[in-house]
């Protein structure tokens, strides 16, 4: 972790049909952290990521990536959407999906060539999915699909990675494989931001955490702020009881 701020969010408010789902969020994410965003369902975790990436338009506030607007810094950012957000029956192969990660650097109209294909194959190798490169994506298990999504983000060779619930519906082996890759990314100085559901694994996987529930509750190093007090503030009373079950 360095002193640089990778992502800065100021006074961000986002609403669906005039009903705010994120309210006045201020957030500074330092470069080189592996950060979890936690909060109950409907807390606006995915919305926060989507607003940072310009997929949703906020009604107030601003976002900067290394001091500049997202539009200017697009090439520094990779995004892994929720697995359920796409139609896995789409007629395409694993390799082709990973290639989509290279489209951003290509820009409009230009087509992927050997160089992009090579990068995609390397990314597939990294997530252990090379033997499945020509498999139609609906023929992959949930964990394999998630690895394909991860490979697609890796191929972007970004500085900041946003991931929306990468551990949802994956088997234990895949979960370990994914977290190892995320830790490698952090080691390489990248910033990784993950919407996360499983509170139990937060201290083990992450070094930074943001508690979110429509408003920002707390953000900082896991060892300092991952405590019952913040959990209770985020999830409501008596959180301690349910986490220990």
């Amino acid at each position: 972790m360095s002193d640089k701020i990778a992502v800065q969010v100021d006074d961000l408010t986002v609403a669906y049909n005039y009903k705010p789902v994120l309210w006045d969020i201020d957030l500074e994410i330092p470069e080189g952290v592996l950060m979890a965003i936690v909060g109950p369902n409907g807390a606006g975790k995915s919305t926060l990521i989507k607003s940072i990436l310009g997929i949703l338009k906020p009604i107030a506030g601003s976002v900067s990536i290394y001091g500049k607007s997202y539009d200017k810094q697009r090439s520094l950012v990779a995004y892994v959407p929720q697995k359920g957000s796409v139609d896995w029956d789409f007629p395409t192969t694993a390799l082709d999906v990973v290639m989509m990660g290279t489209y951003g650097s290509l820009g409009w109209i230009k087509r992927p060539r050997q160089k992009q294909k090579k990068a995609a194959l390397e990314a597939l190798e990294k997530v252990g999915m090379l033997p499945f490169k020509n498999r139609q994506i609906s023929q992959l298990s949930g964990g394999q699909q998630q690895r394909i999504f991860l490979a697609r983000a890796l191929v972007q060779d970004a500085s900041i990675y946003f991931m929306d619930e990468p551990f949802q519906g994956v088997d234990a082996t895949t979960e370990i494989a994914i977290i190892n890759i995320l830790k490698e990314l952090r080691k390489a100085g990248k910033t990784v931001i993950v919407v996360h559901h499983d509170l139990q694994t937060v201290p083990e996987y992450f070094d930074w955490v943001t508690f979110l529930n429509v408003k920002k509750i707390a953000t900082g190093p896991v060892k300092d702020i991952f405590n019952d007090d913040n959990l209770t503030k985020t999830y409501g009373i008596n959180y301690k009881v349910s986490i220990q079950e």
């Binding site: 950012v77 995004y79 789409f90 007629p91 395409t92 109209i109 088997d171």
Partner: protein, 386 residues
């Protein structure tokens, strides 16, 4: 074949190709119904355009009608965004309203105008060769051929230029947006092309049957391939095949060409729906039957693995014991024997080492659900193909 016959088939084929391309993306985007909406609501655009130009092939008319198509999409999305009704309801609200405006306009001015509702809805391909494009007295062929040809050229150029963008935004809108390929621009681009194609095709096949030409070839191709490029190619092939075979079917029956083309599309879909190698009804039924047998096989092998006592492993005992009919027991025994998984010695069944290993692996897979270890088994057994 006469010249007119060739011209009609050529027009029908070009229309089919021009429809199949946007149609493929509409099907993948689950927006088949929007093509229905567009095809109806271009009517007021056509009527107003016809008032102004008195020429069904005029570019102004095509432009106005295309605009009406895009307005439909905008209105549908606007109503949907209010969150008060769902998309299908929004479609059902918008296009009849626009269509009825067109119908009223035609009826009000029926005396001055030779544009009847039948022609708009059903088209009349048979008359297409009569309306020629004449440039300083030289006959350059039927006007519709030029119109449809021009629209097809535009569609193909756009497809080649923006194939990557179309694929990405159709598969993953979120990623497209985050990479800077505005899904909104691509969406409206596709909607505009769909509208232009509909306008260009309506003259030939009519507003209703355009929908069939957009959706049916793509839906048929979808059952046959898992590759987007192949799907596009197959859609085009099916479209052209239906256009030409439909023409001859109509010729033979002395019936509507548009109706016959659509019938062919329907027949083609039905055949593929039944006989497609993976997704077809027969293939699915066969697979389910195989899976049932394989589950039985596994149950049987597991039973053998768990029991050393001879009385539990007697051939005749199995019927009663695992509670199977004779036929099923026989099928399972034969399958196991064929795969060298068991040996039968004096009516006593025992596992071979291969059978033993297979059972262990299969049970492991069922418990852990880990795919990688059974890759080699997937080719032989349906059960493990997800």
């Amino acid at each position: 074949m006469s010249n007119a016959q060739i011209e009609i088939q050529l027009i029908a084929s070009l229309v089919a190709i021009a429809c199949a391309i946007p149609g493929t993306f509409l099907v993948l985007r689950k927006m088949a119904m929007i093509s229905d909406a567009i095809s109806h609501s271009i009517l007021p655009g056509i009527v107003v355009g016809f008032f102004i130009t008195h020429d069904l092939g005029s570019p102004i008319l095509i432009l106005l009608a295309t605009l009406a198509g895009v307005v439909t999409v905008v209105l549908v999305e606007y109503i949907q965004k209010t969150g008060l009704v769902k998309e299908d309801t929004a479609i059902g609200l918008v296009f009849p309203a626009l269509f009825s405006i067109g119908v009223i306009l035609i009826k009000k001015n029926a005396d001055d105008i030779h544009l009847d509702v039948d022609a708009v809805l059903l088209g009349e391909l048979a008359y297409a060769p009569f309306d020629r494009l004449l440039v300083s007295g030289v006959d350059l062929g039927p006007k519709s051929l030029w119109i449809v040809g021009a629209i097809l050229m535009i569609t193909i150029i756009l497809l080649f230029a923006f194939f990557k963008e179309l694929k990405l935004s159709t598969f993953d809108k979120g990623l497209a947006a985050s990479l800077g390929f505005s899904p909104v621009i691509i969406h409206y681009g596709l909607m505009t092309v769909s509208s232009i194609t509909t306008v260009g095709a309506f003259d030939a096949v009519g507003a209703i049957l355009v929908v069939a030409l957009m959706i049916a070839p793509a839906a048929t191709a979808y059952l046959l391939t898992t590759d987007l490029k192949k799907m596009l190619f197959l859609s085009i092939v099916f479209g052209v095949f239906s256009a030409i075979s439909g023409y001859w079917f109509a010729h033979w029956l002395d019936a509507s060409i548009a109706g016959s083309i659509t019938t062919m599309l329907g027949v083609l879909f039905l055949l593929v729906y039944l006989f497609a190698p993976n997704k077809g009804v027969i293939a699915v039924l066969y697979r389910e039957k195989q899976q049932r047998t394989e589950v039985s096989l596994l149950t049987f092998l597991l039973h053998l693995k768990n029991h050393d006592e001879e009385r539990e492993r007697h051939v005749n005992h199995l019927n009663e014991h695992i509670n199977w009919q004779k036929v099923r027991s026989k099928t399972v025994l034969e399958l196991a024997l064929k795969n060298n998984m068991i040996i039968i010695d004096n009516n006593i069944v025992s596992l071979t080492s291969k059978g033993d290993e297979f059972t262990t692996q299969a049970i492991d897979y069922i418990i852990t659900n880990e795919d990688a270890q059974i890759e080699d088994m997937k080719d032989d057994f349906f059960l493990f193909r997800g």
